[in-house]
Symmetry: D4
Subunit: 152 residues, 8 copies
């Protein structure tokens, strides 16, 4: 009984923005004909950092400059997580990525199905998030395979 | 990963009804091709005041005349806020506008993303609402820019 | 800002099944071109009473015969109330109509906008429900006018 | 594993106010030492009808007189139902008792355990409510026995 | 069946801070022996305005000074409203009082029982809030009478 | 007032995977032209057991092999139950089928309308689930008849 | 920072009723001085089976006899699960135990922390429930150790 | 109107475990006589890492060893966050601290009042969490001052 026939799955791709993992997932799921609608945070780092002051005017303090930008980005991310069926959270080797972990917690509290995507070197640091996730994938290809199976 | 491709954003435009700020936002977002569906309270002041007695019959007391009308208007506003993804609340220079502040509180408790729109002279009086909003815009154009960014 | 352009309003018409008030509302809203999708309980009294034993087999006791039928009817009514934006509850002059009052309470607890429809002779008996309703109409025409205004 | 040791069960007794069924239940559960805290709507019919105008001032129209009183009574009933673990709804032989059916629907939508209490002559008219209730009792004594068993 | 015996009612007193209406209500309910626990926003206007910069350090801009203070005040108000059974909102003759209207909307969306308290001159401006409230009182004494009745 | 005209009913078919009951229901509802969208867990037993290790790599321990597979299957089942209007749970004569009972509990807590489908020999063992279900059917044909009635 | 000082943990012990696992857990946690309040379904098998007809009168059919009893038992179990912080579900070697699996699903959908307790021979059959549980224990002693650690 | 008189505030202290910030907050609030009940995750790093295998038996793979421990820790943290009124999240200079960010997201989605505590060097990396927090403190003393003000 194929759920793909009757609904599009909304999948939010949270986390790391410095590699092309989202595009890999999107291309392969498209090639596989899966009925998925992906969304993500803004992945243009500079635009994401500057949107607050670019749109709403400059700030003397870095804290408030960040605050204004993060507020606008949160309009996008919280709305899309609330609408999502599945949230995939990718952690890369660099940077703090606390927004990714925040998204994971936000999604978990709302009862969304969570998939994490990261290398084994991060396993210990991500154990609290992985234990709540329904699956921990190592490669974008594995995420695609999970989706292909789940939607088959 | 463009969320615009896969969903229409439902945006409720609450508050001031004595200027054309809604039309400005609607025209510019349409010109920009953004996938948004705007809704609002009834903005015809006289119709809004009289709908209760016009439809359901006259009342001797002003309190109950208002009560009947406000009840009917609430069918519209609470339904549309519950369905909205984003709620924009505009405060103008005149009038009490308590219904706008009420809508903001109602939307906030439901977890909707909130944007306020008002002049700097109202900043102090609106601080409790602005601190819950994700962004405070000064012009309709800024609201459009926020939406264009969030939906890009 | 016309919400009719962007969404269909789902309206559940609960209560009295011995007059044509639903058809009156449906015909007039259709004539007015309102974007509404009406639903209702099963209004064929005999089918409604017998569905349990007709489908699932006979019962010796009247209590369980009713129980089986009411369970099946509840699949319909609770699902449709949960999906509705607005619930209209009609009380007529005859019968107990406790299911109508139950539907009103169920809808109220879920935050649905409630409209009651009944004659003035029932005002005192219905005061607890009317005080929670957003409007009390006296005629199907008034319900149509409320909808026409709310969706304008 | 006796839950009585560790919690008091909050039980709202809704419905008919013209017999002493609440007192019967209260006395017998007290005699049995059950850890229950009963609450109810105001059962003084005249006080309940007049509270609105007695406190907030007179109304020319019966509809609004009822409306004011019912609003105040709803402060009590909705708060107590929201806090209750179990809601018992009693239907007697007389009167419309639509508020009782409304309370039942309100409680059911909030996931409260529901017990109905009425004679067999009302079975058919109450089938929609009985099918949602966890038990249908015929006497206050049976309600006490249910509570004694559930809390044993 | 007296609910006062078994529970304390938590009542949040929102709104106007320039008269002693809260004290009047508290003294009279205490005199009447009602089992209520009142709470309120911080009613020291200057402390409320300055708490952000007093605790977390100065801000050059008035907007962010207000923002910091309003955030801290919101910790108190949203927590207390979420815990409240009843929310009383008082509107006085002066000031914008948008925070009071925001609190009313916030409480309404959470299903709290709402009581408004204001003069008749504000009826038209407050009609959207009054229509959602369970009662509109004119004096603190009336609020006390409502509570005395509801908890009797 | 036919709800079929305006909405597709989403029905999750949980439980036994060793007979063709899902296909029987699907074929007969299709023949009847009912507007339903069925979904189900993965019904290929071997694929369901192996999906975890097939996609995410081998496990030495049977417990974790099962854990990985069950996590992936849960992405599908919990998402589809959350989206469903009605959940049908079939219990067959063999196997433990604890996942079916788990799905029934999960659906019940979310307020979904529940239909059970099983032989009379399982009545006693399933009494806790049947008492929460809106109907207990004995054959796929009866499920189809219930749906045909509910959607008529 | 010891949470035991400030709150009692409410723990519902669901499932198998043919061994003394509940008593083992209760005695050891009591000996350890843990601030827990245990509750459970009625564990007297015969009383549980007969409560419906014993209290509410006989039934000719086994299905309705079970139905009446299960309804009364559900008043207890659903109330206690809703109030619980943690739900422990024990599966023994014998019987269908579908009510235990139903309780697990019910608790999971409400966001309760779930602990399963069973032998390794049941691992494969319970994989869907274990993957949602926060821990799978093999002995009552392990459950006690988990609680002692969690509350330390 | 002092809310301290009538309720204890439950405050969960999440995040960094390598300095004595929790003890500082606890001592100063105790000295100030504030009615707060603090809770926290297990702050013994080694116990936290090993609890899974210590209680439930060894694992060959590091991933599952972490998984078992993190599951048990989650029983504590999710229960305490759900019960909390306020969640304070501390980020220190070292380590990934993704569990702290996860807790923040989890608390935010549940509508808890959030306070962050960190140095300015982390401002940019924490902007998404700070924008959702009601206050960002730099020292434990500031957290105490916020609590003293909020509970005054």
């Amino acid at each position: 009984m194929n759920p793909s026939k009757d609904m599009t799955w909304r999948i939010f791709l949270s986390g790391e923005i410095h590699s092309d993992w989202r595009e890999q997932i999107a291309q392969r799921t498209e090639a596989a004909g899966l009925p998925v609608a992906f969304s993500s945070p803004i992945t243009d780092h500079e635009a994401s950092d500057n949107c607050g002051v670019d749109i709403l005017g400059p700030e003397a303090s870095g804290f408030w400059r960040d605050h204004k930008g993060a507020g606008i980005n949160a309009i996008r991310t919280t709305t899309l997580i609330r609408r999502a069926d599945v949230v995939v959270v990718r952690f890369g080797p660099d940077y703090r990525q606390w927004n990714a972990a925040f998204d994971a917690g936000y999604a978990a509290a709302l009862g969304k199905a969570l998939i994490t995507l990261h290398g084994e070197d991060l396993d210990h640091a991500l154990k609290e998030i992985d234990t709540t996730a329904r699956a921990t994938a190592r490669t974008p290809e594995q995420v695609v395979q999970i989706l292909a199976y789940v939607l088959s």
